[in-house]
């Protein structure tokens, strides 16, 4: 057995188990040490990732593949986990929460996401998805003393379980049709099955898989759980889910649909394109009415998912490449936003948009950075989001889906509405009278600075990241 193929996952899961084991023996005062251990584990897994082969070798009896895409997603998930870990410290300690268990669950969830991304077989993909999902359900409900968190966890669990069931049903139909669970051979067999009188099952199976993954990435009309779950979850978890869980969903889409069902791309391409347009429109329009900043960001993330889906819908190498690039941009913008929100909520600062009044004068740096991340979401030039959207629009035009490009452009214009309303509240509205001091924790500041640097780098010198994402998408469309 070549365990070498999954060293990063082994390290991360091992650190998670170590955290669970140590947690009861570490006093409340020393819980911070467990956080450092988690950071160490994530960094170690990242280093191990760099030593993994990336030439497309298949390992562990065909269960995993080590290609550039695996490397890309592993690094993406680990970076996100690192940033989230950094800004969770302060958040958890203020609320008297158990750091060890939280970090352990975070490690397990990230392991699951990584297994999903390197899967070369339906079974390992599904197992990775379940590992990620189960950890996420618990993380969402983690705030024991908050009713909102429990409610969010339950909603996420019920919807997630339904999605898992749909996925499993679809996958079992696929196995019945093709007799194989290996992703590289699926597509041909499915295309062959299409010619038979029972070809309808193929569409049923593909539809079930797409619907289930749409649930997982919160694409409309399967997004209804997202605002509630994202609003009620502990704020660091919201950021983690938006980035890691959704990116993992996209990894699964790329593996299972772009690669696995490649021969059927003309059909699912249209379906996904329709889904993309619907998702971005619904997300953007609903976000206009939101009063709570986490809820607004939840709808904004639905809209972002719509943009990202467009890259997959066109089913070209360029499309997947732009998707990957946009995922990096999305990571930095989202986690940056959440670093700011957590820094603000540290001293009881509210989560309502109205609470942000006058922030520009009280904390110009925080307000400025939040504005920067919003600008990246909208796609203002010189930010990461601009380059990302440029890539997606280009891919849509090249893939003969110009209407998709128009959709992205129009939706970006709509989205200015709600981002602007927050910015106006921060910079123009007067400071409320009973405003306390705001101080960001050290970890939070680090992740804030890292995110800001990421957003600016991606906006100003995107070449390196373009090459990375194009390289990573090389073997996807076969």
């Amino acid at each position: 057995m070549d365990f070498g193929a999954v060293w990063p996952e082994i390290i991360l899961a091992g650190v998670g188990m170590l955290l669970v084991l140590l947690d009861p023996f570490v006093g409340a005062k020393r819980q911070r040490a467990l956080g450092y251990l988690a950071v160490g584990g994530i960094v170690a897994a990242g280093i191990a990732t760099l030593f993994e082969p990336r030439t497309g070798e298949v390992a562990l009896a065909g269960m995993v593949i080590l290609d550039p895409l695996s490397l890309f997603f592993r690094l993406l998930f680990l970076s996100a986990a690192l940033l989230v870990t950094l800004f969770s410290f302060g958040f958890l300690q203020e609320r008297d929460q158990d750091v060890g268990e939280f970090m352990a669950l975070l490690c397990f969830a990230t392991t699951g996401a990584m297994v999903m991304a390197i899967s070369w077989d339906i079974i390992s993909l599904y197992v990775g998805l379940e590992l990620l999902s189960i950890s996420s359900y618990i993380l969402v409900a983690f705030l024991r003393d908050e009713r909102r968190s429990h409610e969010a966890g339950l909603k996420y669990l019920l919807n997630g379980a339904l999605a898992s069931a749909l996925l499993l049903f679809g996958l079992s139909l696929i196995y019945g049709l093709t007799g194989t669970t290996a992703i590289p051979v699926l597509g041909r067999q499915l295309a062959a099955a299409l010619g038979h009188p029972y070809g309808g099952i193929v569409w049923l199976a593909v539809g079930l898989v797409l619907a289930a993954l749409a649930f997982k990435i919160a694409a409309a009309p399967f997004h209804l759980w997202a605002p509630d779950a994202y609003e009620g979850a502990p704020t660091p978890v919201t950021g983690y889910l938006m980035v890691v869980a959704e990116s993992a969903g996209f990894a699964a889409l790329i593996r299972l649909v772009s690669t696995g069902m490649g021969p059927l791309s003309t059909e699912w391409g249209i379906w996904l394109a329709g889904l993309a347009i619907l998702t971005m429109t619904v997300g953007n329009v609903t976000a206009l009415w939101q009063q709570n900043i986490k809820r607004m960001l939840a709808y904004s993330s639905v809209a972002q998912v719509g943009y990202i889906l467009a890259g997959i819908a066109v089913a070209t190498r360029g499309g997947v490449g732009s998707t990957l690039f946009y995922l990096i941009a999305y990571l930095f913008s989202t986690l940056g936003c959440f670093a700011v929100i957590i820094a603000l909520s540290a001293r009881g600062h509210g989560e309502q948009i109205a609470d942000y009044a006058g922030l520009g004068r009280r904390r110009p740096w925080l307000a400025g950075l939040l504005t920067l991340f919003f600008a990246s979401y909208v796609g203002i030039p010189a930010t990461a989001g601009f380059m990302g959207k440029l890539g997606l629009i280009g891919a849509a035009i090249h893939g003969d889906m110009a209407w998709l490009a128009v959709g992205i452009a129009v939706n970006s214009a709509i989205s200015i509405g709600y981002y602007w309303s927050v910015a106006r509240t921060m910079w123009i509205d007067p400071v409320p009278e009973a405003a306390g001091a705001i101080r960001a924790s050290a970890g939070g500041s680090i992740s804030l600075v890292l995110s800001a640097v990421g957003v600016v780098l991606l906006g100003l010198v995107p070449q390196m990241f373009f090459h990375l994402s194009q390289w990573a998408s090389a073997g996807v469309i076969r």
Partner: protein, 206 residues
């Protein structure tokens, strides 16, 4: 083949029973019947180990816990009519959808090579489904999914502990009102129902 049709019919009927039963405990029992008939189906397919483990794990452990929780929460057998949302057309829709899927699968089974696995049934007919081949498959090609599942279960246990245990200081304070003050409906059985138990007089010293 006859065994298959009888057991399959039982399995389907039990599955319908699960969703049709108005009483949660009855649903659980139907599910037990369903799981046991699946176990029999596995055995007729010579997957002996899988069949036995199916009974041991699902019927013997998982469903018992379901039953345990249900009899703890809803001790009374009378279904609470108010708690049931009347289905509005979903039933018909579900039946139609199930019929379409079943028809397609039947067509596939009758016309095509739908059930011709190209991998999986390795190891030859004689050893198939025995503990040895099962173990070798589990710890050989399927090691990664196996360990991943183990990790998922560990996560679930950690989560159950994290969400429910400890935090004595939080008891009652932060719990949702509905849980903290369970309405009379959820309380274990009225005292009025507990008829004076007949003294059981048998065998003298039992």
């Amino acid at each position: 083949m006859i065994t298959f049709f009888i057991v399959a019919a039982v399995a389907v009927a039990a599955a319908i029973g699960v969703i049709a039963a108005r009483n949660a405990v009855h649903s659980v029992l139907w599910l037990v019947v369903h799981l046991c008939s699946l176990a029999v189906l596995y055995m007729t397919l010579h997957a002996e180990f899988l069949g036995l483990v199916q009974i041991l794990i699902y019927a013997g452990a998982v469903m018992i816990l379901f039953l345990f929780v249900l009899s703890l929460l809803s001790a009374r057998s009378a279904p609470n009519a108010a708690a049931w949302e009347q289905p509005r057309g979903q039933t018909g829709l579900a039946i139609a959808a199930a019929a379409v899927v079943a028809a397609l699968v039947l067509v596939g089974a009758a016309v095509g090579n739908i059930a011709a696995p190209t991998q999986g049934a390795a190891g030859g007919a004689a050893a198939f489904g025995t503990v040895q081949t099962f173990g070798q498959a589990l710890f050989g090609p399927y090691l990664l999914p196996f360990e991943g599942t183990a990790l998922a279960l560990l996560t679930a246990i950690v989560g159950a502990v994290a969400l429910s245990a400890g935090h004595d200081d939080a008891a009652g304070r932060g719990l949702p009102a509905t849980v903290a003050a369970e309405p009379a409906d959820g309380a274990p059985i009225d005292v009025s129902h507990a008829a004076p138990a007949e003294p059981v007089a048998t065998g003298g010293d039992r």
